[in-house]
């Protein structure tokens, strides 16, 4: 089974790296099915709350940063077991 890590996208404000935030909510728990585009993680930054979508179809395997944990661009937050093709 292929496992992928859902990260805070580095392409978000790509050349303005230095920001960070705090995970305030994980919207799925281990064992939950998740589809591409589903809201998965809420991250609070100074300016707003970012709702990070799942880039994968699969099953949530592990929460890597629990609510309250701090994250920055590139941080892995959730491990997903990705459904295979066909």
């Amino acid at each position: 089974m292929l496992e992928e890590i859902v990260r805070i996208p580095e392409e978000l404000w790509p050349r303005r790296g230095g920001w960070n935030g705090k995970v305030i909510n994980i919207l799925k728990k281990p064992g939950d099915r998740v589809s591409k585009g589903d809201p998965l993680v809420e991250v609070e930054i100074e300016k707003a709350v970012l709702v990070i979508e799942s880039p994968y179809d699969g099953v949530v395997k592990e929460i890597l940063v629990p609510p309250g944990g701090s994250v920055s661009p590139g941080s892995g937050v959730v491990k997903v077991e990705v459904f295979g093709e066909g």
Partner: protein
């Protein structure tokens, strides 16, 4: 204070645009200011270019753009921006800049060269510029106006009383109004635009006074938006306006005579700029009555 929720959705167009601006080495204010609309704008293939580097000489206390000693001007930047407009297939482009108080003309000539380069390489393209105040140097302003932008924006940012607190000491409320008024004198058919950030501690009456001052300076398009603190280094948010309050201010603005008003918490000066321009042109020509925008 409840924060705005932003759905992070990075589609293929977003990623392509990111590659184009990065490979050409052009800064964008979308990134520099952590703009909350980046997902929507980049996702539809639109960005606001920020010329003359990513470092501003001014220390406005609401703004997240880097401050410090800026890089030397890239003389090829006008052509790079023109090339980016072509690659992105834009028919309407918004260009802003950092403040460059280190340059004798504040960067006015570079602005003018960029406008001309974009128009030369992209016939028919409309260009909107969001300019600094050039420290009130009206000759510098004239250089930009005669280079042929279709819309000239300059932001007063806040009400008169809060200007010394919110903006850099070299900025001025009356200086900004003078820039806007003079631009119209240099070119009476030029469409002008300005923005006010709400939630910095202003009163309702002060907002209306500022709108009236902008109309007196001949401003056509008004943008009202909610101030969102980008980091703990900037001013705190004094108040979050309700959507109904934005609506009420929008109605007042239309009564004051603006041709087009964008009043929304997430609105920013360049947000939906093409639509605002087209609507303003129609209304100035008397073809359409004002109605709720955004």
């Amino acid at each position: 204070m409840e924060k705005v929720r932003l759905r992070v959705s990075l589609n293929q167009r977003y990623l392509e645009l990111s590659k184009i601006v990065s490979s050409l080495g052009i800064a964008t204010v979308c990134e520099g200011a952590l703009c909350p609309n980046i997902f929507e704008c980049w996702g539809s293939g639109v960005a606001t270019f920020m010329i003359m580097g990513d470092t501003c000489t001014r220390g406005c206390r609401f703004c997240y753009v880097k401050k410090g000693v800026p890089q030397p001007i890239d003389p090829l930047e006008p052509y790079k921006v023109a090339e980016a407009v072509k690659k992105l297939g834009l028919d309407y482009v918004t260009i802003t800049s950092v403040d460059r108080d280190d340059l004798p003309d504040g960067g006015a000539e570079h602005f003018a060269r960029t406008i001309r380069a974009v128009k030369d390489l992209n016939p028919g393209v409309r260009v909107e510029v969001l300019i600094p105040d050039f420290r009130g140097d009206l000759d510098a302003l004239k250089r930009v106006v005669v280079s042929g932008p279709d819309v000239l924006a300059h932001n007063i940012e806040t009400v008169r009383r809060l200007t010394p607190l919110v903006r850099d000491w070299r900025s001025g409320y009356d200086q900004s109004l003078r820039v806007l008024r003079q631009a119209k004198i240099y070119n009476p058919v030029l469409i002008t635009k300005s923005s006010i950030l709400l939630g910095l501690g202003e009163t309702w009456e002060e907002v209306i006074d500022a709108m009236r001052d902008l109309r007196d300076a001949g401003v056509d398009i008004l943008v009202l938006s909610q101030y969102m603190r980008p980091s703990p280094k900037q001013l705190p948010v004094a108040r979050v306006y309700k959507i109904e309050e934005f609506k009420e201010l929008e109605e007042i603005a239309y009564k004051l005579g603006f041709s087009y008003v964008i009043a929304h918490p997430l609105a920013r000066t360049s947000y939906k700029a093409r639509e605002a321009y087209l609507e303003a042109v129609k209304r100035i020509a008397g073809h359409a009555p004002p109605q709720g925008g955004f």
